[in-house]
């Protein structure tokens, strides 16, 4: 990286819009220098002037180099400031950092994405990659669970994916609301159903969501015969630097900011089974 990895670069908000009551998406363009290429699954450290900096996954299409896209849930001071930006505002960006979903290497396989809640945002660049290169894969399935129908992210886009003949999309919510005609229940129910109709040995799975949801999803994948070295998850820890200096993101011998956030499941399975690592 040519520039000091501790210094944010300025990006202008081209467009920002609200996705859900507490979630916004923004498209950014660099003020200082060129757009930096990224790989699906990587994240940036976004800085709100005077407020602070947090880790946010890149949720846009890596093939579209015109804009950098992030989707942010307002859960605190910094994420709130970032989720509240308007068109034309300027924020700081450091990155991209971390490991990527190795989706481009899994050609010929049945790609299964399992997303929980906002976990769909870091998976979306990988989904775009598969959709853009669909002929290279033997199948594509997205299983997505959200808390309620009002919490379904990218709903219009999902509808478009669902209408494609070459993709299978399964949506479920924890709690239905009046008017909801879709599935209710945890994500493993539609996941198990999908897997029962597939050959587990041909599946490469990419899983992102709350840790508990990832744990159960991985169990379903293993039970369906998906090889352990064909399952990837993305982990989340407190991050203050993203470059291996601050120590906050450690998970055993790994720094989640450098060695992750995306891990092949068998590389972290021993510690994931333990509490408070």
């Amino acid at each position: 990286m040519a520039q000091d990895p501790m210094l944010p670069r300025r990006y202008r908000v081209k467009r920002a819009w609200s996705e859900l009551s507490d979630v916004s998406t923004m498209e950014l363009e660099p003020i200082d220098g060129e757009a930096v290429p990224f790989a699906p699954g990587q994240f940036n450290m976004l800085y709100a002037f005077g407020v602070g900096e947090v880790a946010i996954s890149i949720s846009g299409d890596a093939a579209d180099t015109d804009k950098l896209v992030h989707t942010i849930r307002n859960v605190g001071a910094i994420s709130g400031a970032l989720a509240g930006v308007s068109d034309g505002d300027v924020i700081g960006v450091r990155g991209p950092f971390g490991s990527a979903w190795p989706v481009a290497q899994e050609t010929g396989r049945h790609i299964v994405f399992v997303a929980g809640g906002l976990g769909l945002a870091p998976l979306r660049p990988a989904i775009y990659h598969v959709l853009n290169n669909r002929e290279q894969y033997s199948g594509m399935t997205l299983v997505y669970g959200a808390r309620s129908p009002d919490d379904l992210l990218y709903a219009d886009e999902i509808k478009a994916w669902k209408s494609r003949f070459d993709t299978e999309v399964e949506i479920t919510v924890d709690h239905a609301a009046p008017g909801w005609t879709g599935q209710v229940g945890v994500v493993t129910v539609p996941l198990d159903r999908t897997l029962s109709g597939s050959n587990g040995a041909e599946v490469s799975a990419f899983v992102c969501g709350p840790e508990i949801m990832m744990r159960f999803s991985v169990m379903s994948l293993m039970a369906a015969g998906v090889p352990e070295d064909k399952v990837w998850i993305s982990m989340e820890r407190n991050m203050k630097c993203a470059i291996g200096f601050c120590g906050h993101c450690q998970f055993g011998g790994d720094f989640i900011c450098r060695d992750g956030p995306v891990f092949r499941h068998d590389q972290v399975s021993r510690l994931i089974a333990k509490k408070e690592i």
Binding site: M1, D4, P5, M6, L7, P8, R10, R12, I31, F49, G50, V51, G52, E53, V75, G76, D89, V90, I91, G92, E236, R237, N238, K240, C241, I243, G244, F245, C246, G247, H248, Q250, G252, G253, D254, F255, R258, R270, K274, K275, E276, I277
Partner: protein, 372 residues
């Protein structure tokens, strides 16, 4: 004869060396007496150093007392380490002003004059070399650390005695340093110093003094000094500790030590290799000026592992386990070295006297059956 790396000399006392460093424009940081302990601070002459003092250290205990008035360096390490210079407890990273295009960011470079660390012990040099790896991790370099490190000259003191808390011999980090110094001093039993030149920069300083060359008798006397110090050590670390901790994350001993640990973070603050940091974003009243600071942090705080929804390491058990397994086990995975240099600070400065060597011995004595 001019000095060169590997050549050795004799000096009566350290004063000419301090003078030569000052004359050559170095800021000299050395041991001083402060608040009943040996601390590191700027010195203007050798007489600023606490000659004649010695220390007693034990779990949760540190005392200075009068020793042989002629001895210069009969104490070992105190609560501070050189880390406070190379990796300051508070560093400004940058400042930003609101303006055109949102704001403008101005990187901050601290003022770090060329600095001689006078009296660094072998374990402390090892600790600096550990942090060298941390802050240049293959992907990223901490430019501020690098700049300070390159402006640093090290005058080592080879230890003539060990405190009861020292266990550098078992960590292969001391009590004498083979490398990593520009000049090294060994205080001989009969008075006087055996002086080793470790670099061209060290040679340039020694040439200002032109000391007498040392012979084999002085070399042997110096070796005997550090051998005796090594022989005084009673604490040690088991060799297989990295694997032992990796395999014993569920050992009941963690709960026992967590009963005693106050989660006060003293051990991490005193440790010369601990590198964790937090950032602080500050804002002036007008809201037009912002700064980002990097400050020491500790894995013993609840906030350290906070993510939305709550901290990952809520229990003291998990925090002590994180600290000890990081130091002694996962550090090897990350940096190909132990994170512990055996300086004993965490033992002496723990208010309840928790002893990392005693904890390690407990795992070694009764490990859990190996996991599959």
């Amino acid at each position: 004869m001019p000095a060169s790396t590997g050549s050795s000399f004799i000096l009566d006392d350290p004063a000419p060396l301090v003078e030569a460093l000052l004359a050559d424009g170095w800021r000299v940081i050395g041991p001083k007496l402060g608040d009943g302990a040996i601390v590191y601070d700027e010195i203007e002459s050798a007489s600023d150093m606490p000659r004649g003092l010695t220390d007693e250290q034990e779990g949760g205990r540190y005392r200075l007392r009068e020793g042989d008035p002629n001895r210069w360096f009969d104490y070992v390490v105190g609560p501070q380490s050189w880390k406070k210079y190379l990796f300051p407890a508070r560093q400004k990273l940058w400042s930003a002003e609101k303006g055109d295009n949102g704001f403008a960011i101005e990187p901050h470079e601290d003022d770090f004059p060329k600095t001689a660390l006078f009296g660094a012990r072998a374990c402390e040099i090892a600790a600096i070399e550990v942090q060298d790896r941390v802050f240049d991790n293959g992907d990223f370099t901490d430019s501020g650390y690098k700049r300070r490190r390159e402006a640093t000259l090290i005058v080592a003191v080879q230890c003539a005695r060990s405190a009861a808390t020292c266990f550098c011999a078992s960590m292969n980090t001391g009590p004498s340093a083979d490398s990593g110094f520009d000049i090294a001093l060994t205080e001989l039993d009969d008075g006087g110093f055996f002086v080793e030149c470790g670099s061209d920069r060290g040679a340039a300083i020694l040439d200002r003094i032109g000391p007498a060359e040392a012979g084999t008798a002085e070399l042997e006397a110096a070796n005997a000094v550090t051998l005796k110090a090594a022989g005084m050590q009673t604490r040690s670390m088991p060799d297989n500790i990295p694997a032992l901790l990796r395999e014993n994350l569920d050992h009941p001993r963690w709960a026992e030590v967590a009963e005693r640990c106050l989660s006060c973070a003293n051990c991490t603050m005193a440790c010369p290799t601990c590198f964790c940091s937090d950032v602080e974003d500050v804002n002036d009243l007008s809201g037009d000026h912002a700064e980002r600071w990097r400050v020491w942090d500790s894995c013993f705080t609840l906030d350290f592992s906070y993510i939305h929804g709550g901290s990952v390491r809520r229990s003291t058990l998990s925090r002590y386990r994180q600290w000890m397994t990081h130091k002694l086990s996962s550090w090897h995975d990350q940096f190909d070295t132990s994170g512990c240099v055996g300086c004993g600070r965490c033992i002496a400065w723990c208010p309840v006297g928790i002893d990392i060597t005693e904890e390690a011995a407990a795992f070694a004595a009764e490990p859990l059956a190996q996991e599959g």
